[in-house]
């Protein structure tokens, strides 16, 4: 097992280097040029050349790559072309909001999806199952921007109670208003975005849970448990549910990158200052340093998440062994 872990960890290094090369190349091959975005549409060529040289963008691409690599290895993500601010500051501005929203969403999704999927499976083809299936597909099919705007117009404008955008009311602070007011204010701001994100992502996990449970209750050991004369409650809770949860638990590893990734659509509509908006703006402005930093963090989390999944498999499922 230890050998396996070390081997997997070592594999990550060439993988990340490979990803960074591909990332860097694609970004520089894509049409568009940060210099043209910094200058006017038709700035004189010598002006463009001067600015390009100032940013070191006139060097061959491999020189630029190695410069970037050297800088990253020193732990420096560089500075944005556009405003000269360190990339780390840009990311740290946004990351807490993305984590905050995604964390709440994830708790709600799992807290709701697991029992719902469970009941759905145990009462397959019942009215409950059909209703849940219907809403699961509806949630998946509704375009989230449309649903979000609908909520804003139908709920937000009509009620004075529910804010439509932002994270908190300007001026509401711990010092002046106390803990309770601040918490209520924050919670109110969460309601609309959390509703939209959760509805969209719950469908998958509900269905996953349902099919996993359906598979488990057909197993021989469940029949054995029932044959032993165990009450149905115990059969389900102790024997079926635990086993059915296995694939769900390993999903958590896959959720790691998602937890850190911002949703452009949700952030756009609810003016939520997360990572999604930062990355989309960086891509449009060809702000290479920010794009590279975000891509590499994403890649690292993806790799780490996969790794975590594999390890979780071993931990929760005694049938699986790595050597």
């Amino acid at each position: 097992m230890l050998n396996y872990v070390i081997r997997r960890l070592l594999q990550i290094i060439p993988l990340l280097i490979g990803i960074s090369i591909i990332n860097f190349t694609i970004m520089h091959l894509a049409p568009g040029d940060p210099v043209l975005l910094l200058t006017e549409r038709n700035a004189p060529p010598e002006e463009v050349a001067r600015i390009r040289a100032l940013y070191g963008l006139d060097d061959p691409i491999y020189v630029q790559y190695f410069r970037w690599l050297k800088q990253i290895l020193k732990g420096d993500f560089g500075r944005s072309f556009v405003d000269g601010r360190p990339v780390v500051d840009h990311i740290m501005d946004r990351l807490p909001y993305t984590l905050y929203l995604n964390f709440v969403v994830m708790i709600i999704i799992y807290a709701l999806a697991i029992p719902i999927g469970n009941i759905s499976a145990l009462r397959q083809y019942s009215l409950f199952d059909h209703v849940v299936t219907f809403f699961a597909f509806l949630g998946q099919a509704l375009p989230s921007f449309w649903f979000a705007l609908l909520l804003i117009y139908a709920v937000g404008i009509k009620s004075d109670w529910l804010p439509i955008t932002g994270v908190a009311t300007i001026g509401v602070s711990l010092k002046r208003h106390g803990l309770w007011t601040v918490l209520v204010d924050r919670a109110k701001h969460l309601i609309l975005p959390v509703t939209v994100v959760s509805l969209g992502s719950m469908a998958g996990i509900t269905r996953y849970m349902r099919s996993s449970m359906l598979e488990v209750i057909r197993q021989d050991y469940i029949r054995t448990a029932r044959a032993k004369g165990l009450p149905e409650k115990v059969v389900i809770r102790k024997h079926a549910l635990r086993n059915a949860l296995l694939p769900i638990v390993t999903l958590v590893g896959m959720e790691l990158p998602i937890l850190f990734s911002g949703s452009v659509i949700i952030e756009t509509i609810f003016s939520w200052p997360g990572l999604g908006l930062l990355s989309i703006r960086a891509v449009f402005q060809r702000d290479y340093q920010i794009v590279m930093a975000l891509n590499m963090i994403g890649a690292l989390l993806m790799v780490a998440g996969n790794f975590l999944s594999d390890i979780l498999y071993v931990l929760v499922d005694p049938r699986i062994k790595y050597s």
């Binding site: 405003d83 601010r85 705007l149 001026g171 711990l174 609810f270």
Partner: protein, 541 residues
């Protein structure tokens, strides 16, 4: 299990407390002023985030909005878009237009208490002229030879050649030298004062929560009249529809541009609370025609394209009437606009057909005209991102097919359109828009020197390669002439030539409809939007 849920919830609460931070409250109880109290809050909505609060480095409009309140320049535009003094009390030009002397107010202080002197002005403009300067404004000051500050309240610009349009560029906010000299010109972007600006304007920067809001407060030591509104909050939205919803809900007091489709509805539902003001924009949408193209080089063909296109119909249908048909290249808001002097090219397909017949184009078997075996057909490029452009192009395609002209549209991604076609001046026709500066000078658009040079590089914006010696001469004179009345005459002549020769099919200029909460009084509306925000005040109902 229950304990674990508890921990998770606690975590959520802790995160909830940390994000968002705390925001300062407006200071309570403004003292009663001599005439008018400094009180109240105005909340603006804005789409997109500002980038950098540096008056010589920024390129985006949210930054510009903040800069215009925090900084002040030598001069600024008034409600008629004419330049009036701001930090400069007065100024004079030498007879030959080569020496511009500005006399500064002596009571201007930066927000950190330091007085503003001619050294700050000199520093700001020398930074732009510096070879390491990373911004985009150097070309505006190409005519400047050097700048002198003979005493603390006098600045003199020495020019290599007269260049009248430069006055509008002297409105850039003046940087505090004592703060910016800590970074080299090359690293100016990294100066922290770009994020927490210290200027001389009517409002002081308080805080900026990225992606959320920005707060400014009244500068009590402002040298001019006002400000009367105590606090300015700018809320950032990423989507126009959401910002509109925020306006309707009352979250914001001002929205600069209501989407045309929603204007009538919002007006009917909210006119008790909001004041709606319609004003034209300083820019226009056009179809550029390559002047060296074998077909489009014939001015009669270009005129036929104008007569053959129902441009008023486009304004009525696509812009819902919130726009004005353009016939030349100076927007109606400019003081140099030749009102009533231009050919209007009203929709007249018969006249268009007749012009084409006279030019030798006869109807071919498929309805498209031909001449010497060549079909009257061209390709039109445009940005793929705009629904509006798409609809306009469909109308144009149909209208022109009626007069026997084939137009083949091609939609390209913005950066591809620029880098592979427009920047290298390779196209037959394209559709885009210009937004214009305050000075009517359009040398870079249509002077023959602004086209393609011998090596094939595009020098200015004249990508259609329009060339007209008479116009060249007028544009050169317009830059040298310092007297506004004389310049007006010059640009009247110049835009008449453009109106007659048609380097573009001119389409329209858009009208904005802005909404302002009625609690805000004393708003001064220029033809481009509200100006002089330090004079407005709040009267709660």
């Amino acid at each position: 299990m229950r304990r674990k849920v508890g921990i998770v919830l606690l975590l959520v609460l802790v995160i909830a407390l940390f994000v968002g931070g705390c925001t300062p409250e407006p200071e309570a109880g403004p003292e009663p002023g001599d005439e008018r109290q400094v009180s109240g809050t105005i909340t603006y909505g804005m789409t997109g985030d500002p980038v950098i609060f540096n008056p010589i480095l920024y390129t985006d409009s949210p930054s510009s909005f903040v800069i215009s309140r925090v900084y002040s320049g030598l001069v600024r535009a008034n409600e008629n878009l004419e330049m009036v003094g701001d930090i400069a009390k007065s100024w004079e030009f030498s007879e030959d237009g080569l020496v511009w002397t500005f006399h500064l107010r002596d009571d201007v202080r930066f927000h950190d208490g330091e007085p503003l002197t001619s050294e700050d002005v000199k520093y700001t403009y020398e930074a732009i002229l510096h070879p390491d300067y990373t911004g985009i404004r150097a070309t505006n000051f190409k005519a400047v030879d050097h700048i002198e500050a003979p005493d603390p309240y006098t600045v003199v610009f020495y020019l290599k050649e007269p260049f009248a349009p430069m006055l509008t560029y002297l409105s850039y906010g003046i940087l505090p030298k004592h703060i910016f000299e800590q970074t080299s010109i090359k690293d100016m972007k990294e100066n922290p004062a770009n994020m927490e600006p210290i200027g001389t304007g009517p409002y002081k920067f308080v805080e900026w929560q990225r992606g959320q809001h920005l707060i400014l407060e009244a500068n009590e030591d402002y040298y001019g009249e006002g400000p009367y509104i105590e606090q300015v909050i700018i809320k950032f939205y990423q989507d126009e529809q959401v910002m509109l919803a925020a306006l309707e809900k009352g979250d914001i007091d001002y929205m600069g541009s209501i989407p045309p489709d929603d204007i009538d509805r919002v007006k009917s539902e909210h006119s008790d609370r909001l004041e709606f003001v319609e004003f034209p924009t300083n820019g226009y949408t056009y179809i550029g025609l390559k002047q060296t193209h074998p077909i489009l080089s014939d001015v009669n063909v270009r005129k036929a394209l104008m007569y053959g296109l129902n441009r008023q119909g486009i304004v009525d249908d696509i812009l819902q009437g919130y726009g004005t048909v353009m016939n030349s290249n100076i927007a109606p808001v400019s003081w140099a606009y030749a009102e009533g002097e231009l050919e209007t090219y009203g929709y007249n397909p018969e006249k268009a057909k007749q012009l084409l017949e006279e030019a030798g184009w006869v109807e071919g078997p498929d309805g498209i005209r031909v001449k010497d075996g060549q079909r009257l057909s061209f390709t039109l490029l445009t940005d793929s991102g705009s629904k509006m452009y798409e609809s306009i192009i469909m109308i144009a395609q149909e209208d022109w097919e009626n007069i026997g002209v084939e137009m083949k549209p091609e939609f390209l991604e913005w950066s591809v359109l620029c880098s592979q076609y427009l920047d290298v001046a390779q196209f037959e026709a394209y559709m885009l828009g210009w937004s214009l500066g305050l000075d009517p000078d359009f040398y870079i658009f249509f002077h023959s020197d602004s086209g393609v040079d011998e090596e094939g590089n595009l020098v200015g914006f004249n990508d259609v390669e329009f060339s007209n010696p008479e116009l060249d001469e007028l544009l050169e004179r317009g830059r040298r002439e310092m007297d506004q009345e004389e310049r007006r005459k010059i640009y009247w002549e110049a835009q008449k030539i453009v109106n007659d020769q048609l380097p573009y099919v001119f389409l329209y200029t858009r009208n904005n409809v802005a909404a302002m909460d009625k609690k805000v009084k004393g708003v001064i509306w220029s033809t481009l939007g509200p100006v002089f925000p330090e004079l407005w005040y709040i009267e709660e109902n």
